[in-house]
């Protein structure tokens, strides 16, 4: 009986919480991993795009825009910004001698600017948007907050759609072709430049979407991206840079580990454990659990 109660009141909520975080983490990590897999760019400003998504919920929500409309609107609003960043910043240094380092530096600078712009507009204090779907249901004695449940469903749906696009459509095969061999793809008529901008915008849009979805659960503040992106980096490393399946598996795994481990050890220690796992993976299996997009 005690065991049942333990599962019902302690374990199940933690698993559910881990799932919620995991889905959001996967969305952010997917954007990161797709951008790395295709463009070979480590986007250090990814966390800030996630924060911008969350702040769009605050800003546009205050103007009376419906939350559900924002789920569609936020990623679309990011497209021009993302394309501008890709065209005018990343592409400028893309063909330089040390692409990894320079693109990392440029996006790092961008992250600094974006974080401070958010601070300038919204102030440094945390915001908390209203929960668009309050209430909870009880199934088998386990409490399911409606919004979290919905987040998991929506997130899982989006992840499936992305996998379908990348692996089963013509657009996806063009993206994979461009990732595998840029010049060959271009000579076969793939509009590589467009694909690059589009992919970057797509990855950034995913980050913004995750920001919108998580805003009602977590507080929204300018440096929120920084904390979250570290986790997303670990997911990308452990799953394998550029691997979609890897991001999903590693995202669920890491979120559950950090969620469940807080039952047994002090929650402050989950961070070092997650990063420690990341270090071990980098040392012994830098390609991660699964291979790279377009290379497997």
């Amino acid at each position: 009986m005690e065991l049942l109660e333990y599962i019902q009141y302690v374990l199940a909520p933690q698993v559910l919480n881990g799932l919620t975080v995991g889905v959001a983490l996967i969305l952010v990590a997917l954007g990161l991993t797709i951008i790395f897999g295709l463009l070979d760019v480590l986007n250090m400003s990814h966390g800030e795009f996630y924060a911008v998504g969350a702040f769009l919920t605050i800003g546009l929500g205050a103007m009376g825009v419906n939350f559900w409309a924002l789920i569609v609107l936020a990623p679309i609003l990011m497209i021009p910004l993302a394309i501008a960043v890709e065209r005018f910043l990343i592409r400028k240094v893309y063909d330089g001698a040390d692409r990894h380092v320079t693109t990392l530096l440029v996006t790092f600078g961008l992250a600094l600017v974006m974080e401070d712009v958010l601070k300038l507009i919204f102030g440094a204090n945390p915001h908390r948007p209203e929960n668009p779907l309050p209430g909870a249901s009880e199934v088998l004695g386990i409490v399911f907050p409606h919004y979290r449940f919905l987040l998991i469903i929506v997130g899982a749906f989006i992840i499936l759609v992305i996998s379908y696009i990348v692996y089963r459509t013509k657009l996806g095969s063009m993206v994979r072709a461009a990732a595998y061999d840029r010049n060959m793809a271009a000579s076969l008529g793939v509009p590589v430049g467009l694909i690059y901008s589009g992919t970057f915008a797509f990855g950034v849009g995913l980050a913004a979407l995750a920001g919108v979805l998580l805003a009602p659960i977590y507080s929204v503040f300018p440096t929120m991206g920084r904390d979250f992106i570290f986790m997303a980096f670990s997911v990308v490393i452990i799953g394998g840079m550029g691997s979609i399946l890897g991001a999903v598996v590693a995202g669920l795994l890491l979120a559950q580990i950090s969620s469940l481990s807080s039952l047994f050890i002090e929650p402050v220690w989950t961070d070092p454990i997650v990063f420690g796992v990341m270090v071990i993976f980098l040392m012994f299996r830098p390609q991660g659990l699964f291979g790279r997009i377009g290379h497997a």
Partner: protein, 349 residues
């Protein structure tokens, strides 16, 4: 006739000499005005210049981007703080910090050396995060508050002693140590060992064919950089009287990186200039607005895009050319020298 690398080092030495002269003038003005604030700020800039120097040694000469150099800075600072609290000995604190950061850098270097390129950046970043979080969670190290109340000590020089609480005295001590680190690094890079490091950046695959171990050279560079960061970090608690986990966070590593890009990658002198410019920029902008990151971030992006060689990297070729002309004039009748135009063109690492 010297070869090109020696020439560029001489260019850096001229720039550093200018910096030292400016620093001494600054100190004299500070003493004359009985200033504390600016001298302390200047000392802090020099301490972080040491951290930037270690980043430049890795990025500018060996081609390794470390995103976690603050780890060794922080380890140096914490060890120094603990030793100072217990013994009040400057030299003991410095040697303990050096030992600890050397040890940490050997372990960290063996771990980080498993991987290359972007993975190296990430593994150094993750390592620093692990250590930072462990310190953050350790009660005996003051957890998130850090250690406060580090006593004022004397830098015992045998014939004289400088108190760390004396603004000008400690400024001079820090300046000596940081310039010493600069000199040591520049000297090492100009030895055959240094040439191997530079070769690593140019083409890592060819180095083994010349009979050198890539692994050993990379590890040596990493350990050296860790020790430089550790020594610089050891000075921090003497200046500020406290240490906090923020010293190990990514923002500290990021600032050092900004300083190096600002000053010029692969010049060593640029790391010193960059840190000082960064601190000056921050305090000037802060008088107008709290949002200095917008300005610094934009400046940083613009530099990476348009002036990737940084400030000293931009100036140095002219100094090298000037040194060249001068030495040619001296040995005028002996042999024809390399044309300066070639030197100018090739000096853009």
């Amino acid at each position: 006739m010297h070869d090109r690398i020696t020439q560029t080092f001489r260019g850096s030495h001229v720039l550093t000499a200018v910096l030292v002269a400016a620093a001494l003038a600054f100190m004299l003005v500070g003493i004359a005005n009985n200033d504390t604030f600016y001298l302390r700020l200047g000392t802090e800039a020099l301490i972080f210049a040491g951290l930037a120097l270690s980043v430049d040694l890795l990025l500018g000469y060996t081609g390794l981007l470390s995103l976690g150099q603050a780890m060794y800075f922080g380890i140096g600072a914490y060890v120094s703080a603990v030793v100072l609290i217990h013994t009040q000995s400057f030299w003991l604190a410095m040697s303990a910090s050096l030992g600890a950061s050397l040890l940490a850098a050997i372990v960290g270097g063996i771990i980080a050396n498993q991987v290359r390129g972007v993975y190296f950046a990430l593994i150094t970043f993750a390592l620093a995060q692990v250590v930072a979080k462990v310190i953050y969670n350790t009660q005996s190290l003051g957890s998130s508050d850090g250690l406060i109340g580090i006593p004022v000590v004397d830098v015992n020089l045998g014939v004289a002693a400088i108190s760390t609480s004396s603004p000008a005295g400690f400024f001079l001590a820090v300046l000596t140590i940081i310039i010493g680190l600069y000199g040591l690094t520049a000297w090492l890079l100009n030895t055959p060992f240094g040439r191997v490091l530079i070769a690593l950046k140019a083409n890592e695959r060819r180095v083994p064919f010349l009979g050198y171990s890539v692994w050993r050279a990379r590890l040596a560079a990493y350990v050296l950089a860790g020790a430089i960061a550790g020594i610089s970090g050891a000075l921090y608690p003497m200046l500020r009287g406290f240490v906090s986990p923020e010293l190990l966070f990514f923002s500290t590593s990021g600032n050092a990186l900004i300083a190096v890009i600002l000053g010029g990658v692969g010049t060593l002198a640029g790391a010193l200039y960059g840190s000082i410019i960064l601190i000056v920029l921050k305090s000037v902008i802060s008088t107008y607005t709290t949002h200095h990151l917008i300005v610094i971030g934009s400046l940083f992006i613009a530099l990476v895009l348009f002036v990737p060689q940084g400030l000293t990297g931009y100036v140095r070729p002219y100094i090298v050319a000037w040194l060249e002309r001068r030495s040619t004039r001296r040995s005028n009748d002996q042999k024809p020298s390399m044309p300066t135009a070639v030197v100018l063109k090739r000096d853009s690492s």
